[in-house]
């Protein structure tokens, strides 16, 4: 069961934590979001040790928590940034160093902005058209009009979630799941209904487990939404077509609205693995499904090869929406207005990148993802996609007892020590939810190979010491 994050000390200590860490010479920590990172409790301990001027065997803390490519050292794509720069400052159209396809794209986008400026309020229809085309090419089906927004998942959740007690909207949520989704549910007043992914089976989704979760939930809420993440976060598991079909059939039988979070669809690394979208599978299952099952598919510029998390832009495609709600959805969308135009430019490029033959095509390349080998005393259900490795720690009995004595969770104890001794900050499994008695850590592998190698080196060194100490 995913636990609610412990908020009591975070806000108070976070600003002082940052100030102290920054002021320490020779020890830098790049800016990272103030979120529920399990790392926060960990870094609070770190803060205290640092204020005591303790010397560390490392110069730099490596924060490998976030699915943030640029923070992790990956360079932004030149084409994307050049187009954005030209759109912001059209005088650059005179620059000879900027490639013609960049200029052409920028001109096109600027033409679509009234006043020729990206300073206007959102909603560039041209971008929307591009997204339609992209979906159409990807899936070969009939595209519906996607809506671009800063927080697509929250936007659609808000349309559905309401009610209290037995009428409270329930959302079937995978365990493990990334923490901000669960926080979002709490904020909106939805009931989280956990369903466990099967670790021993490569983290795949078993429909019987969905059924079990659904059945138990009906006694305390009104389950209406089935949330799936494909490729998975943190698991990296990529669903097979058969699995997707099963889920769609289940949603149809049980009258559930499917939310398919597919933001990692471009990050596929295992040989022979393939991403197929929920929309495509739905349409290939014939009209009794494709005409009825309600589906929201999500994608974003934050992940994938662009990794532009800071631009805050994504889209949602709503399939089989009841005609009675279309007007309300449009109104709600018009009131939102929180998509920065720069984000939409990035979105446009994501769905319509440079093609072979374009001058910028050679530099518009795929991020290479590196795999993680299992260490002794850990097990690793390697995923085929996404940008995380989710390792299970097989902690010795002595370590579990030690944790109990310290009054903390075993995986949190592990991570605190890892941070102290090796300066590596990662996400504790507790933050994602896990089966009782299991412990995990999440590492972001969407980073430079040098950085990842260093992380793994330090992790291995720590891990072997840890096993030794508690053997």
């Amino acid at each position: 069961m995913a636990t609610a994050c412990c908020w009591d000390c975070r806000g108070l200590l976070l600003s002082s934590y940052r100030a102290v860490l920054r002021s320490k010479e020779g020890c830098s920590l790049s800016n990272h979001p103030v979120v529920d990172a399990a790392g926060v409790e960990v870094v609070i301990l770190f803060l205290f040790s640092h204020t005591q001027g303790v010397k560390k065997p490392y110069k730099e803390v490596i924060d490998i928590c976030w699915g943030d490519a640029h923070s992790g050292g990956t360079k932004p794509l030149t084409f994307v940034r050049q187009v954005i720069a030209v759109c912001i400052y059209p005088e650059l159209l005179q620059e000879t160093t900027i490639a013609p396809d960049v200029k052409e794209r920028a001109r096109r986008l600027l033409r679509e902005c009234p006043g020729g400026s990206v300073g206007k309020y959102c909603g560039i229809p041209f971008v929307q058209d591009g997204v339609c085309e992209f979906i159409s090419k990807r899936d070969g089906g009939v595209p519906i009009s996607p809506l671009h927004t800063g927080s697509p998942v929250q936007f659609v959740l808000k349309l559905l979630v309401h009610g209290k007690g037995l009428a409270q909207t329930g959302v079937l949520t995978p365990i493990p799941c990334y923490p901000t989704f669960v926080m979002g549910l709490t904020e909106l007043g939805a009931a989280m209904v956990p369903y466990y992914l099967c670790e021993d089976d490569g983290w795949c989704l078993h429909v019987e487990e969905l059924r079990r979760a659904l059945a138990t939930s009906r006694s305390h809420c009104n389950p209406r939404i089935l949330y799936v993440i494909n490729p998975g976060n943190p698991t990296g598991h990529v669903q097979s077509r058969e699995s997707i079909e099963e889920v769609i059939r289940f949603a149809a039988e049980e009258e559930l609205f499917i939310f398919a979070d597919e933001v990692y669809q471009d990050m596929m690394y295992a040989e022979g693995s393939q991403f197929v979208s929920y929309k495509k599978v739905l349409f290939e299952m014939g009209p009794q499904y494709s005409n009825t099952v309600e589906l929201a598919s999500f994608h974003s510029v934050s992940k994938g090869i662009m990794g532009e998390c800071g631009l805050r832009c994504g889209y949602v495609e709503l399939v089989n929406l009841d005609p009675s709600v279309k007007q309300s959805v449009t109104s709600a969308f018009n009131t939102e207005r929180n998509t920065a135009v720069i984000g939409q430019i990035a979105l446009n490029i994501m769905v319509d990148p440079p093609k072979p033959g374009d001058p910028s095509y050679p530099t518009f390349s795929q991020v290479s993802l590196h795999t993680v080998e299992a260490l002794p005393g850990t097990s690793f259900q390697a995923g085929s996609g996404g940008i995380y490795a989710y390792l299970r720690l097989d902690l010795p009995q002595k370590a579990l007892l030690q944790a109990k004595e310290e009054g903390t969770d075993p995986d949190l104890m592990y991570c605190s020590r890892l941070l102290e001794e090796e300066g590596v900050c990662l996400v504790v499994g507790k933050e994602h939810g896990q089966q009782e008695g299991t412990y995990h850590i999440r590492i972001c592998i969407g980073t430079t190979s040098t950085r990842l190698k260093e992380v793994l080196r330090r992790l291995k060194s720590f891990h072997l010491r840890f096993l030794n100490e508690f053997s």
């Binding site: 908020w7 975070r10 806000g11 790049s30 800016n31 979001p33 103030v34 979120v35 529920d36 943030d68 640029h70 050292g73 990956t74 360079k75 932004p76 720069a85 400052y89 650059l92 620059e95 902005c113 009234p114 006043g115 400026s117 300073g119 206007k120 309020y121 959102c122 800063g150 929250q154 349309l159 559905l160 979630v161 309401h162 009610g163 926080m183 904020e187 009104n222 209406r224 149809a252 039988e253 009794q288 009825t292 532009e308 998390c309 800071g310 631009l311 805050r312 832009c313 009841d322 709600v325 309300s328 109104s331 709600a332 018009n334 009131t335 207005r337 929180n338 998509t339 920065a340 720069i342």
Partner: protein, 498 residues
């Protein structure tokens, strides 16, 4: 809970599973249904349709739709400030730092911002509260603006435009059931973000009327009347002020602000001061006074106790950069436990768009005298504000020559909100159509002239009065034509329905 029986079970080959939709108008979140946002409501949707019809070659008595409905300066041709765009371009594509196209002061600011970003990129997540050095710069700006009154960067929260911050604070405030349900005082007329947010959150809307006869000023006795009436059915907890006003454009006097603060202190209300138009002040004798400054100048009895949040953004003033979604709020005297919750709440969306944060940084940290870009910057800024002031005056002047239209001075912001008198027959016809009379008027205006305005009913107004809101943003030449057309339309409309 809606319960529709499944009529037939699904089998492999034959029967269709009779499935009801999960999301229907009846099962949707009822608060979402209640939300209306007039600025982009039905009249705008019709305007978009007309644009499409024109493009398809339809013949109309006009060749283009003029969108005088939304406060979007650049869409109406206002030029961006060169320096800001230079810094943003440099932040977006840092390789430009190596070249010679950009002045040193722009490069210096870009470098500073990038250093504060993860991996030196504006594409990385930032801290949820906003990039620290930006918050520090914002604090410094506020301190300078307010004559040295200290501003703590920890009280600054960057946001996605001001609207996002306003909604966040309202989320914290709204609670309770029935008679204990949170009531929020908002001005009438108001910017419909407030009514939309209150509907969305299921809060009680408490309306206080601005005084049209007195240039839309705020009267504390009216605040009191509204409060007392509201106490019967809800728990009033917050008071929202928009200064300079939207849609009314009034700029509050210092005395008025003091009175409001005193009222809030007496009645134990949380003050929300929407100050996004703070640089848009045009009228002689009018001056922007920040709520924070006045609060602190009233001494510790108030400055130590009154809870205040001030909002600002990069969307208005002389920048007009709505598309970047830059903004911030400053929280004063917020309970420390609540502040922790606020910090948590803003983290759910991870962070505000980083380009917006970068833009905000350079807005609060513009070129200083002596710096290479200063002259151009000050020239552009002065000119933009000057032109707006001229258009504000022009609008007031022209509208007041039309029998049946009265327009209060546009002291600030970006809109005129003239009052229109409508013939009885027109009002009747509107009612028959199920439309608000000023909506009926504006729809006709749109169909006949292509000018898109927002009816006063979208902002709230006293019963039996009618208004429309028109922006002062179209370029001067176009504005003159628009004013003339509205004048002619009003006269023919009045004649037609008399």
């Amino acid at each position: 809970q809606q319960c529709q029986p499944a009529l037939w079970k699904m089998t492999e080959n034959c029967f269709m599973h009779h499935r009801t939709k999960v999301l229907t108008i009846d099962t949707m979140n009822p608060n979402v249904k209640k939300v209306e946002y007039a600025v982009r409501g039905p009249i705008v949707q019709r305007a978009v349709q007309i644009e499409k019809e024109l493009k398809a070659g339809a013949k109309k008595p006009f060749s283009e739709v003029i969108r005088a409905n939304i406060g979007d300066a650049h869409a109406m041709g206002q030029r961006p400030i060169t320096f800001f765009r230079q810094v943003l371009a440099l932040c977006s594509y840092p390789e430009l730092l190596e070249g010679n196209e950009f002045p040193e002061d722009a490069k210096e600011r870009a470098r500073r911002i990038l250093q504060a970003c993860g991996g030196g990129s504006i594409g990385a997540y930032s801290a949820s509260q906003g990039i620290e050095c930006v918050r520090q710069d914002v604090a410094r700006y506020i301190q300078e603006r307010d004559g040295g009154i200290p501003c703590n960067p920890d009280n600054i929260y960057l946001s996605t435009g001001a609207s996002d911050a306003i909604v966040t604070i309202l989320k914290l405030l709204v609670c309770g059931e029935g008679r204990n349900r949170t009531g929020v005082m908002i001005p009438i007329p108001q910017y419909p973000l407030y009514s939309a947010a209150l509907a969305d959150l299921g809060a009680v809307q408490i309306e206080y009327y601005l005084d049209e006869e007195n240039c839309w000023s705020l009267d504390v006795s009216e605040l009191r009347r509204a409060l007392v009436a509201a106490q019967q059915h809800c728990s009033p907890r917050a008071l929202c002020i928009i200064n300079p006003g939207n849609p009314t454009g009034q700029v509050q006097s210092r005395q008025c602000i003091e009175d409001v603060i005193r009222f809030a202190a007496e009645e134990h209300l949380f003050l929300m001061a929407d100050e996004v138009y703070q640089d848009n002040v045009y009228a002689e004798g009018c001056e922007f006074h920040s709520f924070k400054k006045v609060l602190f100048e009233m001494g510790p009895e108030y400055s130590d106790t009154v809870e205040l949040v001030s909002f600002h953004s990069t969307s208005k003033c002389y920048m007009g950069e709505c598309g970047f979604r830059g903004g911030y709020m400053e929280v004063i005297n917020m309970d420390p436990d609540v502040k922790v919750q606020l910090t948590k709440l803003v983290s759910v969306r991870l962070c505000p768009p980083v380009p917006g944060q970068a833009l905000l940084d350079v807005v609060v940290n513009p070129p200083r005298p002596g710096e290479p870009s200063f002259n151009t910057y000050i020239k552009e800024r002065t000119s933009t504000l000057q032109v707006l002031a001229e258009k504000a005056w022009l609008t007031e002047e022209v509208f007041n020559t039309v029998p049946g239209i009265t327009c209060n001075p546009v002291q600030g912001a970006m809109y005129s909100f003239p009052r229109i008198s409508l013939p009885e027959r027109a009002i009747q016809q509107a009612k028959e159509k199920g439309q608000a009379p000023d909506m009926f008027y504006c729809m006709k205006l749109l169909e006949e002239t292509g000018i898109c305005l927002v009816p006063g009913s979208g902002f709230g107004q006293r019963e039996g009065t009618y208004h429309f809101r028109m922006t002062i943003l179209p370029p001067t030449d176009k504005l003159k034509i628009v004013l003339e057309k509205v004048k002619q339309f009003h006269q023919s409309f009045t004649q037609q329905y008399s």
